[in-house]
């Protein structure tokens, strides 16, 4: 039986004014698209992930941030991740397309926080499945980096299939013969 408690709801309204934050917001700084506070990833992995996530935003639209934290400071992971996502202002305001993958290894919890604009594609059941099938098995075996990469890959693939960029944005045009019915 997996030792991890997973809380995997997706789809919060990440875009809110600063004034609506509760007090005691988490104090982690947004140092980049990958914030590895709990030191679960190698430097090389961080660099590679960062460029993949930058590319994702360019071509598909969403701002996807991956964060690990040494402590949830006594908060429930749902509260912590929402506060973090709001404090960091992840996602484009007009599209509400922010995604935060948060891993708290010391509390053994993981969460995927999704902006309302992505709720249809990164739905609650989809995110629950990603955590359950792509991440938990690796985490239970102590393979933290692998679990994170598996989960991120599943999420990125979905976001590439269902971009948040509208068709007339500067997304590269897919040649007709390469378009697939998804």
């Amino acid at each position: 039986m997996p030792l991890w408690v997973i809380l995997s709801a997706c789809g919060q309204n990440v875009e809110k004014d600063q004034g609506q934050l509760d007090s005691a917001a988490p104090s982690m700084a947004l140092t980049g698209r990958v914030v590895d506070d709990a030191d679960l990833l190698t430097d090389e992995t961080e660099k590679e992930l960062t460029s993949i996530l930058a590319n994702l935003e360019q071509t598909s639209g969403p701002q996807f941030v991956i964060a690990t934290t040494k402590s949830l400071n006594g908060l429930k992971i749902t509260d912590y991740s929402l506060k973090l996502a709001r404090a960091w202002g992840i996602g484009h305001k007009h599209r509400d397309d922010g995604v935060l993958l948060l891993v708290a290894p010391n509390e053994r919890e993981v969460r995927i926080e999704v902006g309302y604009g992505l709720e249809a594609s990164l739905s609650d059941p989809f995110c629950a499945e990603v955590i359950r099938e792509a991440m938990l098995p690796a985490f239970s075996a102590g393979q933290m980096e692998e679990g994170i990469l598996n989960g991120a890959a599943r999420l990125i693939k979905k976001m590439q299939r269902v971009p948040s960029l509208p068709a007339n944005d500067n997304a590269p045009e897919i040649p007709a013969q390469n378009r697939k019915i998804s």
Binding site: S8, A9, D124, P125
Partner: protein, 196 residues
């Protein structure tokens, strides 16, 4: 000469005093709170929409739990029948009634999810897993919406009570305080916990 000076100063003076006494800030704060209330309502509606499917799925596996299922269906009907319009948000009794009905539904759902523990086939069923994650997600959204609403109400109530906006609030808008949304039943705002 003096007249000219006075005329020159009247417009800026009036503009300054208008902006300072709550003519705009009060309706702005009120509309914000009403918009946040709409979010609260829509998240509760999402939860209500999940329930028929959930009940059907559980019924297929847990035939002995008819009482628990019936209780949830009834609690849902009761909660759906109590509507709160934006104008009722100053009425403490009505807000309480709404909160209590939704709280009762939360409790019914909590009991239902607890009974599911005894049915391993149900717990691993794909359909059920999807519904469970949706329910959990929606409970979380409800809590967030309620917190945001309470914050908006706090801002509005503060605006209409503090100088100088209190001037416009009383004289021009006749503004009444709004009720924050409090959990009325013990543990009503605790989402049914999901452990794997």
């Amino acid at each position: 000469m003096l007249n000219k000076l006075i005329k020159l100063l009247v417009v800026p003076a009036v503009a300054l005093s208008l902006s300072a006494c709550g003519i705009n800030s009060v309706p702005t704060a009120e509309e914000n709170a009403k918009a946040k209330w709409a979010d609260v309502e829509s998240t509760y509606q999402r939860r209500a929409d999940l329930i028929p499917n959930l009940v059907e799925t559980v019924k297929g596996f847990a035939t002995q739990e008819q009482d628990t299922l019936t209780a949830v269906v009834e609690a849902r009907a009761k909660a759906s029948s109590i509507q709160l319009s934006a104008d009722d948000l100053g009425d403490a009794a009505k807000v309480q009634e709404f909160a209590a009905a939704q709280g009762a539904l939360s409790q019914g759902l909590g009991r239902l999810m607890a009974t599911v523990e005894a049915y391993p086939e149900l717990k691993s069923n794909q359909n059920f897993l999807a519904l469970q994650s949706q329910l959990e997600g929606t409970e979380n959204r409800i809590n967030v919406a309620r917190r945001d609403y309470n914050e908006a109400v706090r801002e509005y109530n503060t605006t209409i009570r503090t100088f100088p906006d209190i001037i416009g609030a009383k004289i021009i808008h006749g503004a009444e305080p709004m009720e924050p949304f409090a959990a009325t039943t013990e543990g009503a705002d605790e989402a049914p916990s999901v452990e794997f």
